[in-house]
Amino acid sequence: MSDTVQKLLRPNGFVDLAWPPVAAFIAIVILWEGLIAVFEIPVYILPSPASIWLAITTNPGPLFGHAGITLYEAVAGFIIGSLMGAVLGTVFAYSKIIARGLLPYVIAANTIPVVAVAPIIIIWFGHGIGSKIAVTAFLSFFPLALNMMKGLQSYDRTIMDVFHIAAANGPQRFFKMRLPSALPYVFVGLKLNVTFSVIGAIVAEFVQADKGLGFVIMTSYRTLAMPRLWAAMLMSALIGIAFFALIALLERIFVPWHASAQDNR
């Protein structure tokens, strides 16, 4: 047996971890298919797994095209919003007076429901993809701003003394002490943003769009094309899961020293 196969098969290897959810998935699909056949549930209430599969596989081009648009909006908004949030969080961490002045408004803005703010942003940024990215960026902004600030303030005071004794300069303190100690917090913010960015893209598409999974969901809803609606819904979930897995992988690469990355090694 090759090394890789052995790794996959050993306790806590991939196979060991993956088989229960896979088995559960197969069981649910069979039960689902069976219930629909037995109780003759109409397709607009609950489409069968087979009909959803058909909705995905017959003429898959357009559906995957829409999924690609939503993925693009989510990722672009995630990156822009997270970057801007990181910058503001850093400003807050370094300037008490700016933080005291603006933090209450940032927290207040964070509580505005995205559905209320999306139409305004779409008026500002137009009917293209740009406005969907802006809505997504708006949602991704706050979690990172707050976590970045908290993270940069979380450094150990004795480590600060160590840097003082070693006559470190300002940039060295930032890049070698405060930023590394902030990384676990940054990843908390990024993981929140993953979920928010998919929500933001789809909500913005609900408000106004002619492409994307949110658009597919709205049009399928109007025509009661339920298998297609379910297909779009499942694809948006898959986008979120894949995106989350990517961030979790980056966390392991960039924060290998932290407990959350070590305990599930």
Binding site: I159, D161, A166, K176, M177, A259, Q262
Partner: protein, 268 residues
């Protein structure tokens, strides 16, 4: 052997001279804490000095002034003729805290080399020095370990190695072994004695333990609280090098008793 005597104020040629030092904590309008008052100490080059006294008597405050982490209200500290600030900027001060304060995101070798990295020492030179220090403090095999994989005693070994990385002329330690169990503590005491012997660095150690102070020091400075003052100097005339067996020595017990008697005054 004569009873140790109160020692007169520092001679100006001492390596470290602390003269007329006092420090009062608290901004105007707040409660003022007179943490240190009239402190005069002279330390010779290569000497091992311990500061001992009940908690709150200003030991950490005094050590932090020497290390330029605090400025005194009055008085002056000179290290090899320089102000603490100059000495610090010349990387002549090593500081070890009770908490090892290792950077969790760096492996042990990179932790030890941190002060060199901050000074801009080339990588090859840093690694050579870190390796040398790893051997010195007995951490061979842990070069690539993460700090969280190390025990408390090993973390303090790494902290000592880090403090020594720039070849400081003075090593300041603030209760470095206070959180360790007795056996680990004994072992690290011996390591510290050996490091002092081979490097010839001047050491100021803050400790709670009179036995630790007698075991390691050339001279013990006993402080009393409120305000923190020097109540007496005890010169330790036990021969060097010392092993743990020196604790079976009668002279060792005499010095411990003397120290304890002096310390008890501070608790009244």
């Amino acid at each position: 052997m004569a009873e140790p005597q109160r020692v007169p104020p520092p001679a100006p040629e001492a390596f470290v001279s602390i003269a007329g030092l006092s420090l009062t904590y608290g901004a105007p309008g707040q409660v003022l804490v007179n943490a240190l008052q009239d402190i005069d100490i002279a330390i010779d080059k290569g000497q091992f000095v311990s500061l001992i006294g009940p908690s709150g008597c200003g030991k950490s405050t005094l050590l932090r002034i020497i290390g330029d982490l605090l400025s005194p209200s009055t008085g002056k500290v000179l290290i090899g003729g320089s102000e603490p600030r100059e000495a610090r900027l010349d990387r002549e001060i090593g500081f070890v805290f009770q908490d090892s304060a290792l950077l969790e995101w760096r492996r042990i070798r990179e932790n030890i080399a941190l002060p060199l990295e901050l000074r801009g020492t080339p990588k090859a030179e840093r690694e050579r020095k870190a390796e040398e220090l790893i051997q010195l403090v007995g951490l061979d095999g842990f070069q690539k370990a993460w700090p969280r994989q190390l025990s408390g005693g090993m973390r303090q070994r790494a902290a000592i190695a880090r403090a020594l990385s720039t070849n400081p002329r003075i090593l300041l330690l603030d209760e470095p072994f206070g959180a360790l169990d007795q056996i680990t503590r004994d072992r690290l005491n011996m390591e510290l004695a050996r490091i002092h012997e081979v490097t010839g660095v001047t050491v100021v150690l803050v400790t709670h333990s009179i036995r630790e102070a007698v075991l390691l020091s050339d001279r013990i400075v006993v402080l009393t609280p409120r305000p923190g003052r020097i109540s007496r100097f005890i010169d330790v005339d036990l021969p060097r090098p010392r092993g743990l067996e020196v604790r079976n020595d009668e002279r060792f017990d005499d010095l411990v008793r003397l120290g304890n008697r002096e310390l008890e005054k501070g608790y009244m």
